[in-house]
């Protein structure tokens, strides 16, 4: 099992190297001088020359590529054109905010989505139809728009929740529970936006998976031997239906990170996504590149985690090379 996991990890590494490679060629294909793109229009001639040297624009392309890849994988990401701060420091300060937002919303939207989907699949009838309309609408809501609407209602009309940032201006003076409450109030709207959208997709998928499993022979046997409907649903339908749901968990991570980019931009959440959007707006390429690579890495790690979870939940999927003891 370990060796299978190792193979997956290697494939993940290949994806990250691929992303960095893609960026190298994209910045080559883009109009303009790559060195000038990377230092920005306000750079001095010396800075420009230094960047030319670092990129090795006078050397042959494969050599330039190797140098770029080496620098990037070592974490030598240069400094921001807009602020002059080292990119690595900016990113390492930002990624915990993104991971906590995405992670919390993932957990919440899966718990709620699984419950809603399970209710739809078992109860059927009008309740199912109503919930289907609700979930397909949630699924179709663009995050940035839902975010704006929530801000309109909860910040401007009800004046109940803050719409910007991860903490209030007075956060440093707060202690104990007040500090926690401040954090939670700031988390409420971005988390609600991301979670509501996630619920739609998850519930739709769980409903489908459960309806598929419900017709399987082993469920008919469970019913025939006189188990109560609740036991049949919990032990025999839901458990099996959750296996594809765990796979979906891995697949939905890129989408979730994508969604988080918009949500962070709307709510000024201090994560990688907001840094990315601001950097794109300012044509701050070193930052954009680093944020892209970090997002891809987070997605790859999330996928690995989801695969490990799936293998844990479904013994049939544990890839065991021949010769290894069971």
């Amino acid at each position: 099992m370990l060796s299978a996991f190792f193979r997956r990890a290697l494939a993940g590494l290949a994806v990250i190297v691929g992303v960095v490679t893609l960026m190298f060629f994209l910045i080559r294909l883009a109009p303009g001088d790559p060195a000038l793109l990377l230092v920005g229009p306000t750079a001095t001639l010396e800075q420009l020359d230094a960047q030319r040297q670092a990129l090795g624009l006078d050397r042959p392309l494969p050599e330039q590529y190797a140098a770029w890849l080496g620098r990037f994988l070592r974490g030598d990401w240069g400094s921001s054109i807009a602020t002059g701060r080292p990119v690595r420091g900016m990113i390492s300060a930002a990624w915990p905010a993104t991971v906590s937002l995405v992670g919390l919303s993932l957990v919440l939207s899966y718990i709620i989505g699984i419950v809603v989907g399970a209710i739809q699949a078992t109860r059927g009838g009008r309740l199912d139809t109503t919930l289907s309309v609700v979930t397909v609408t949630l699924f179709a809501l663009p995050g940035y728009w839902l975010g704006l609407m929530l801000v309109m209602v909860f910040t401007y009309w009800a004046r109940a929740l803050p719409a910007f940032g991860a903490a209030g201006f007075d956060a440093d003076f707060l202690t104990g529970w007040d500090k926690v409450a401040d954090r939670l109030r700031h988390l409420a709207l971005p988390l609600a936006t991301l979670t509501l959208i996630g619920i739609g997709g998850t519930a739709r998928f769980v409903r489908g998976a459960m309806l598929d499993v419900r017709n399987a022979p082993h469920v008919a046997i469970a019913r025939a031997k006189g188990l109560s409907p609740v036991q049949v649903t919990m032990r025999h339908v839901l458990r099996n239906a959750l296996i594809p749901v765990l796979t979906l968990l891995g697949l939905s991570l890129p989408a979730l990170f994508s969604g988080a980019v918009f949500i962070e931009a709307i709510f000024a959440w201090p994560g990688v996504g907001r840094i990315m959007v601001e950097a794109v707006g300012a044509r701050d390429y070193p930052v954009v590149m680093a944020a892209t690579a970090v997002s891809a890495t987070l997605v790859v790690l999330g996928n690995l985690l989801a695969e490990a979870l799936t293998a844990w939940a479904d013994p049939r999927l544990r890839v065991r090379p021949s010769g290894e003891a069971a």
């Binding site: 994806v15 109009p31 179709a140 309109m152 794109v280 390429y285 954009v288 790859v300």
Partner: protein, 284 residues
């Protein structure tokens, strides 16, 4: 559920088709339904009128006006042209790439197939919006760029579907007999296999259109897609962002239109899938 007309017996399909047809009709007939946004007159007198109001020049504003006195309904209808057009063209590009990659990978299963499948898996593992942002920042933003970028990042699901279908079909007797009759490889693929692999592609495309429209709006919302003053639903939402307090209708109207169209495309996709795969979900 046999028979050709049965798709229309599904309420989801009826709703989806009706909404999409109305949206497309409105986009096509925009000049008849709305004032050309570039021809609007008096700015000061018509600013921030709420929905259903009439201005000093007896102009009726169904959805109100924005901060430049522009009629929100007109911008919405003209924006539909851009948003629907970009979404449809992007999906068309995705379908073409996805079918080519999937068909080649399924038909030539050796080394070519492995490389193409690896490429597909790689592309699937990329966070799409992050890649879109990167691409949109390197080139001048425009509607054409959005179509190309969305098309280039959306073909993977279709490639996987087509790959599966083509692999299954390539082993079927009618394909073997075509090969035995001396028909060449590419011709077998195009004439005999691909037409039979089209149905799941249609479903994926219907679902993809909704997604593409949503992403176009997202890019335009961030200022990286269709550039103002050309209206698209995304930059209409963005333009209403600053006036949420005193003119909430400016951001609300395009958002509702967007959600309706995406819901319609999704429900239509669901209905078509259930009809093609009667053993599947959705049946009670």
């Amino acid at each position: 559920m046999p028979g050709g007309g049965s798709l229309l017996r599904d309420p989801r399909a009826r709703f989806g088709l009706a909404v999409l047809a109305l949206a497309i009709l409105a986009a096509v007939m925009a000049p008849l339904l709305a004032v050309d946004p570039s021809l609007q007159r008096d700015i000061v007198a018509t600013r921030f009128l709420p929905p259903l109001s009439t201005d000093l020049h007896d102009g009726f504003h169904l959805l109100g006006t924005d901060r430049f006195g522009r009629d929100v309904w007109s911008r919405l209808v003209y924006g539909a042209r851009v948003s629907l057009g970009v979404g449809l063209l992007a999906v068309l590009l995705s379908v073409v790439i996805g079918m080519a990659v999937g068909a080649a990978a399924g038909f030539w299963q050796g080394r070519i197939g492995l490389v193409l499948l690896g490429l597909t898996d790689f592309a699937l593992a990329l966070p799409r919006v992050v890649l879109l942002l990167l691409l949109a920042s390197l080139w001048q933003p425009s509607a054409a760029l959005v179509i190309i970028v969305l098309g280039l990042t959306g073909w993977m699901t279709i490639a996987r579907l087509v790959h599966g279908e083509v692999r299954a079909l390539a082993a079927r007797p009618f394909v073997e007999s075509a090969v035995a009759l001396g028909v060449g490889g590419p011709r077998v693929l195009i004439r005999h296999i691909l037409p039979n692999a089209l149905t799941p592609v249609i479903v994926a495309a219907a679902l993809g259109v909704g997604n593409a429209i949503m992403l176009e709006a997202g890019l335009s919302f961030l200022g990286l897609g269709v550039q103002p003053p050309t209206p698209s639903w995304g930059n209409l939402i963005a333009s209403g962002r600053d006036t949420l307090v005193n003119a909430p209708w400016v951001a609300t109207a395009p958002g509702v239109a967007l959600v309706l169209v995406v819901v319609a495309a999704t429900l239509l996709g669901d209905a078509v899938r259930d009809r093609l795969d009667p053993a599947g979900r959705g049946e009670k």
